[in-house]
């Protein structure tokens, strides 16, 4: 297993190199002078020059790249121009909100999807199956930010069950924390719920046709035991394989959902940076999110290899 882990870590190196290079090159895509863009139309030449110098844009691209990788090796993502602080600190300060949101969205989508997928497969070709798959398809088709707005209107404005926005830290109690995050988590996890439910259903149907399931039924094992003990465990293996992918999608989706629900997370930081052209924050946010996705994928692959040893030998 250690060898497999080492292999996966080594394969991540070229990916991280591309990720860091793309993040570095992003600022060069700005039409015209990035420093002038950041400074705004009313800025003086001195202000533009100061920003250019602080970003290192007055140096040769090779020197800029060397300085960039030097900083990265020390865990330094640069300085935010508008917040006047380290990008890493700004992101870490808000990371707990984004991680809470994506974690809860993953939990909500996974638990509901497994129930929907299993029920749909067990009740194949009935109205239960069709209803469950309709819910899954709707989840995949509706925009998450719009679903968030509809939820705000229904459950916050009309019914007053939840706050319209804002975040309560977990340290202030589980219930207030959950109350502040449940609507954003459902909105964010909706599409993944649809995807996972479809995968669960398809896999469950395949597993239910396997010989060992037929044998268990022939032995007289009650149907609920066949589902719980024999089929479900094997159904969950393909679900695990897409978890890494889903975490990446959720981290991306959190950017918009945080904006809708006024959650002070990394996504909102990035949107703020976009609106105020704070490129170091955009680059840092992009780089860190992609890096997290890469390592989550490695963790999922290792978990998969642990569950299914055949993977290690391929």
């Amino acid at each position: 297993m250690a060898r497999y882990l080492l292999y996966r870590l080594l394969t991540a190196i070229p990916i991280l190199l591309v990720v860091s290079l793309v993040s570095f090159l992003l600022i060069f895509l700005v039409p015209g002078d990035p420093a002038a863009e950041i400074a705004g139309p009313g800025a003086t030449a001195e202000e533009v020059a100061r920003i250019r110098q602080s970003l290192g844009l007055d140096q040769h691209i090779g020197a800029q790249m060397l300085a960039y990788y030097g900083r990265l090796l020390h865990g330094d993502l640069g300085q935010s121009i508008l917040l006047n602080r380290s990008v890493m600190t700004a992101i870490l300060d808000r990371a707990s909100v984004t991680l809470s949101l994506t974690g809860l969205a993953l939990a909500v989508s996974l638990s509901l999807a497994v129930v929907l997928g299993v029920v749909a497969a067990v009740k194949q070709n009935t109205w239960v199956d069709q209803s469950a798959m309709t819910v899954a398809l709707l989840g995949l088709s509706l925009p998450d930010f719009w679903a968030g707005l509809v939820m705000i209107y229904l459950f916050a404005v009309l019914l007053g069950w939840f706050p319209t926005g804002g975040y309560v830290a977990l340290s202030k109690g589980v219930l207030p924390w959950l109350t502040s995050l449940i609507m954003p988590a459902v909105a964010l996890g909706m599409a993944q719920l649809g995807l996972l439910a479809r995968i669960t259903r398809a896999t469950m149907l395949e597993v239910l046709r396997q010989d060992y399931v037929r044998t268990a039924r022939a032995k007289g094992v009650p149907e609920h035991r066949v589902i719980d003990k024999h089929a479900l465990t094997n159904t969950l293996i393909p679900v695990v394989t897409v978890m890494g992918l889903i975490v990446g999608i959720l981290l991306g989706g959190a950017v918009v959902v945080e904006q809708v629900f006024s959650l002070p997370g990394v996504g909102r930081l990035i949107i703020g940076a976009i609106q105020r052209r704070d490129y170091p924050v955009i680059q840092g946010g992009l780089l860190l999110t992609a890096t997290i996705s890469v390592f989550v994928n490695i963790a999922v692959d290792v978990l998969y290899a642990w569950i299914d040893p055949r993977v290690r030998y391929e």
């Binding site: 990720v19 290079l21 398809l137 509706l142 999608i249 981290l251 976009i274």
Partner: protein, 297 residues
């Protein structure tokens, strides 16, 4: 969604002779989900094409005396914060969303095919190209599209470029997987043995027979592009105002969600119908082209 789908569609069998294509079309017409998707998506396309006839008002015509007006006979779905007719803006918004989606699909098809075919056919370049693609796919697609669109500047063409850059690596992976399978088929080996040129083998024998997975993938890319364009417009990096897009109409309504919830309601439903139609089309294509991957029993 497209990422997960992409993991499966490379197993699809290849489209063959004209007779087989007509049989494929017959099976598609009989596929309930495909036809439902075709009708839903067709209605949205018709709405976009006939926007000038269907829209009761100009999408940018203001009526400041009737700002945030509730639905009436004159304004069937009410007005927004500038007194503009919401229904007309949603109808005209279909043009922008579909145009962007179509351009992303076309560029994705071209770029993804070029990159994927090169990686799959030119063995020496495969590893380098695919590691670069892996690196690009490490970015959550929507976040990459947001960062690119924000950096390039808010405009329709930049949205297309940003979405193409975000999704092309996924398309390239599908095409490469398909090319790798077809490359080893006997008829390709026979063509090479018969002296067919490098490019002729690639374009005539390999790519033509690798189209089925690409078609399915592009249908899903169309769907995610519509959703992603709405996201970009919602956060203000899409086509600039006053161009009506479904995303920026929802964003306009967000500020008035308490007093005028109707502003955001219809564009969201329209996006849902469009994407649902495209997802059903994609499901239908996949089911017919590869019965092993069927979702619907």
């Amino acid at each position: 969604m497209s990422e997960a789908v992409s993991a499966n569609v490379h197993n699809l069998p290849q489209l063959g002779a004209p007779a087989r294509r007509s049989s494929t079309w017959r099976r598609l017409r009989r596929h309930r989900l495909f036809t439902t998707g075709l009708v839903l998506f067709g209605l949205v396309v018709l709405m976009a094409l006939a926007a000038g006839l269907l829209a009761p008002h100009s999408p940018n015509q203001n009526n400041f005396r009737y700002r945030l007006g509730a639905p009436t006979k004159v304004y069937l779905l009410g007005t927004d914060g500038f007194g503009r007719d919401v229904l007309s803006r949603v109808i005209y918004g279909a043009r922008v969303s579909l145009r962007i989606g179509l351009m992303v699909v076309l560029l994705n098809g071209i770029l993804g095919t070029l990159i994927g075919a090169t990686a799959g056919y030119v063995r020496r370049l495969d590893n380098v190209i695919m590691r670069v693609m892996d690196g690009l796919m490490a970015f959550p697609a929507i976040l990459m599209a947001i960062a690119l669109a924000a950096t390039l500047g808010a405009s329709e063409i930049n949205v297309v470029l940003a979405l193409t850059a975000a999704y092309a690596p996924r398309t390239a992976r599908i095409v490469r997987a398909s090319v790798l399978v077809v490359r080893e088929m006997e008829y390709v080996q026979a063509a090479i043995a018969a002296g067919a040129g490098y490019l002729r083998v690639l374009f005539r024998h390999i790519l033509l027979n690798s189209m089925a997975p690409l078609i399915v993938q592009l249908t899903f890319i169309f769907a995610v592009s519509i959703l992603a364009e709405a996201v970009l417009s919602f956060i203000g990096v899409g086509p600039p105002p006053p161009t009506p897009t479904w995303g920026n109409i929802i964003a306009d309504g967000r500020n008035y969600i308490r007093e005028a919830p109707w502003i955001s309601l219809l564009p969201g439903i329209t996006i849902g119908v469009t994407v649902l139609g495209l997802n059903l089309l994609g499901d239908g294509l996949r089911d017919v082209l590869d019965p092993r991957m069927r979702v619907e029993p």
